[in-house]
């Protein structure tokens, strides 16, 4: 593959996302006034303002965490502007105006034709009838009582649900970045699956053609009522660029009795250049509460972007027989740093959790797995299986594993396996000797390594993720 294409994957996409009208941007800095302003601009009820203010008070008492295995310069929180009114995108009139390099990326990634226009920022109704597709989806969801909207809309239209669950899984003072998010979040997604409803489609399909700018402090809340199930996909394989360096999102999932939430992420934020200049700091708090009996929370993530990734999608297994799963692929290249993993908190009886983590480090990058398995005294017969594999590409990258295991109940069974391997000259030579070039060889080896995780992704994303990984590691071997 050409170096140009690789650059593209790692670089900001500048065309089609240019803003020309900025309605309102708040002055830089964070204080109580800023928060009141955000709340007022969004016409929020008082309980939400109080939620924000409480978070802000907690945040003031907290310090930026530095225990993680990543390095970054001090962030000036007073230099950030915390509110900007939604910016209209400068839509392109047709696919002919799209940067041909971007089209080639879509081609390589295998992004479906009807989604390319939307992703490229073309006014979709000009070319494809995707808007009506989206409307059809929305109608289909509404028919079965599913609420799927922005969190701002939900605050106004379904305040009782938001009020009941917002902050119930990630409390306002949970950690420094979660507190910041709780104080200043501007938008995000809300999803409610009523009792007994199996969401009739992967919400990924809907989401991809409705990608919206949720800003740097994104807030997501998903609730699955008794017997409900949903598969939700966040992100996209196409490279994403943002002028905001700091991203601190919070995602909360609540699964009631017999409910099932599967949350998949493909993250390809701008990672900085080859020399480690620029790139997004992705400091995310994601947590799922398996509240009811026999409920299940399953996280799958493919993390390829961002200069720094700091996230631990976690499961609180409170309901008896509840299940928590974490499947992760984290790829770092150049100077990227990733400290990611999960927490499995077993509280209910017969709770089970599975952790499969695959870290791939290339270039001068560093990747750490950090995971906690806690078995509470109440968690009779809890089971955990963890497998953390690292693969090094080249000899300048690093991989680290930090497993924390706390068992307070003797009936628990906790297994942990870990391995570190290297894409060796020998593997590449073996495949070369069978006529297979380095690019295909790396792709094959890496995808073999990540197979257990990719199997968890919705089909079309598994295909794209496979290709995305090959991109990311392009030219890092040989």
């Amino acid at each position: 593959m050409s170096a140009a294409l690789q650059n593209l994957v790692n670089q900001p996409y500048k065309h089609g996302f240019v803003t020309n009208i900025e309605s309102y941007v708040a002055p830089k800095g964070l204080n109580e006034e800023t928060i009141r302003l955000i709340s007022a601009k969004k016409d929020e009820p008082e309980w939400l303002l109080n939620f924000r203010l409480e978070a802000f008070q907690k945040w003031l008492t907290m310090t930026e965490p530095h225990w993680q295995n990543v390095k970054f310069p001090k962030i000036d929180y007073q230099a950030i502007s915390y509110y900007a009114a939604p910016k209209p995108k400068n839509k392109l009139a047709s696919m002919d105006e799209v940067d041909p390099e971007l089209l080639r990326t879509f081609e390589k990634l295998g992004v479906p034709m009807h989604e390319r226009a939307a992703l490229a920022g073309v006014a979709v109704d000009v070319i494809f009838d995707s808007v009506s597709v989206a409307t059809t989806y929305k109608e289909k969801l509404a028919e079965v009582g599913i609420i799927f909207c922005s969190i701002s809309e939900a605050v106004h239209n379904h305040p009782e649900l938001v009020r009941q669950y917002l902050g119930s899984v990630v409390p306002v003072g949970d950690n420094f970045f979660a507190a910041l998010n709780s104080a200043v979040f501007t938008d995000g997604s809300f999803c409610y699956i009523p009792k007994g409803v199996k969401c009739p489609m992967d919400l990924s399909t809907y989401f991809r053609i409705n990608t919206q700018d949720s800003g740097q402090f994104e807030r997501t809340l998903i609730i699955a009522e008794e017997g409900a199930s949903v598969s939700y996909l966040e992100g996209c394989t196409a490279p994403q660029f943002d002028t905001n360096q700091l991203h601190a999102a919070v995602v909360e999932l609540v699964a009631l009795d017999h409910a099932d939430i599967k949350y998949s992420t493909v993250q390809n934020w701008y990672a900085g250049d080859e020399n480690g200049i620029g790139g997004i700091y992705n400091f995310v708090t994601k947590r799922g509460l398996a509240k009811g009996v026999n409920s299940r929370i399953s996280w799958t993530q493919v993390e390829t972007g961002s200069a720094i990734t700091w996230k631990y999608p976690s499961c609180i297994l409170r309901g008896d027989n509840s299940i928590g799963e974490f499947y992760s692929v984290a790829v770092t290249n150049h100077h990227q740093q990733a400290d990611t993993g999960t927490k499995m908190i077993h509280i209910g009886k017969n709770t089970r959790s599975t952790i499969i983590s695959k870290g791939i480090s290339a270039g001068k990058s560093n990747s750490s797995y950090r995971g906690l398995v806690r078995i509470a005294p109440t968690a009779e017969n809890a089971r955990n299986f963890s497998q953390c594999d690292s693969m090094l590409v080249g000899d300048q990258s690093g991989a680290h594993t930090f497993p924390y295991i706390q068992v307070r109940n003797n009936s628990a069974k906790v297994e942990h396996e870990a391995s570190t391997s290297k894409i060796g000259e020998d593997q590449l030579f073996y495949l070369a000797q069978r006529g297979i070039d380095a690019e295909e060889a790396v792709s094959m080896i890496v995808n073999g390594f990540c197979k257990e995780v990719f199997q968890q992704l919705p089909m079309e994303f598994a295909v794209e993720a496979t290709k995305l990984l090959s991109f990311k590691l392009e030219n890092s071997v040989g």
């Binding site: 000259e425 593997q427 073996y430 295909e440 390594f449």
Partner: protein, 264 residues
């Protein structure tokens, strides 16, 4: 030793090769014609496996002197994958494991890549499945073998059979078998030998690298070369292997001394 006037497939002239500035090969000369089987024998560290890797284009080895002509091309100009595509095949002494990659997927990618480069027809997964199962019968391999990860958890015998299966799929002009007999019990050895004999014809050639005579009972060479310290120090017919088996490698030195003594 038979006299063969078939076309020359491989001509190695005064080949010197190093790894990290240590010279391993110190002037190898070898001519291989189509239809021939050559055995290269020698003690550990004599440079046999290095020679095999240099022929296959391993990037760790640097040719410092000499030349390799393969089918009227300068082999040293070609990358490892180009050599494979051009019909040079190395059966590895220690086949490499690729976890998570199904053997069938790997075999099909290798087959189709090589077919495409040779301007031949590629096979879709279903066609390939039929094709590879037919080839597997030759090596008495079980069908589940296609679904397992490449070489992962394979026994020594299974790994070696997998190598010969790849040879059967890729139909090389020049097959180099690097200690394919090591780690095989006698039954597996016979199966592998049967496979190799089946694949051998007047249009291709085989170089067998081995320590032991026993492989040569089953795959009969036209020439036996003895390597020592990076050179071929003696060449003979298949009987040379038997003499080595009987007398050991020291015998060559004594034999050479005797010869040297006789000539003065």
């Amino acid at each position: 030793m038979n006299i063969n006037q078939n076309p020359i497939i491989l001509n190695v002239d005064n080949l010197h090769a190093s790894i990290q500035d240590t010279e391993i090969l110190k002037g190898i000369n070898l001519t291989v014609r189509s239809g021939e089987i050559h055995a290269i024998m020698g003690l550990n560290g004599s440079g046999k496996s290095t020679f095999a890797k240099v022929l296959a284009g391993h990037p760790d080895y640097h040719v410092t002197q000499g030349s390799i002509q393969y089918e009227q091309q300068d082999l040293l100009e070609l990358s490892a994958e180009e050599r494979a595509q051009a019909g040079v095949f190395l059966a590895f002494q220690y086949p490499i494991e690729i976890p998570g990659v199904a053997n069938s997927q790997f075999l099909r990618l290798a087959y189709n890549t090589v077919q495409a480069k040779r301007g031949k027809e590629e096979l879709d997964p279903l066609e390939f499945d039929d094709f590879v199962r037919e080839k597997m019968k030759l090596l008495e391999m079980k069908p589940d073998f296609l679904d397992r990860s490449v070489n992962e958890g394979f026994s020594g015998g299974e790994k070696k059979r997998n190598e010969i299966l790849q040879m059967a799929l890729l139909e090389p002009k020049l097959g180099i078998l690097d200690e394919t007999d090591s780690g095989l019990d006698i039954d597996a050895l016979k199966i592998v030998a049967k496979g190799v004999n089946h694949l051998h014809n007047t249009g291709n050639a085989i170089i067998l690298i081995t320590h032991y005579q026993r492989l040569l009972d089953h795959i009969v060479p036209d020439f036996v070369h003895v390597m020592e310290a990076g050179r071929i120090i003696k060449t003979g017919g298949k009987e040379l292997a038997l003499e080595l088996e009987t007398h050991g490698y020291d015998w060559i030195h004594n034999d050479q001394k005797r010869a040297a003594g006789a000539s003065t």
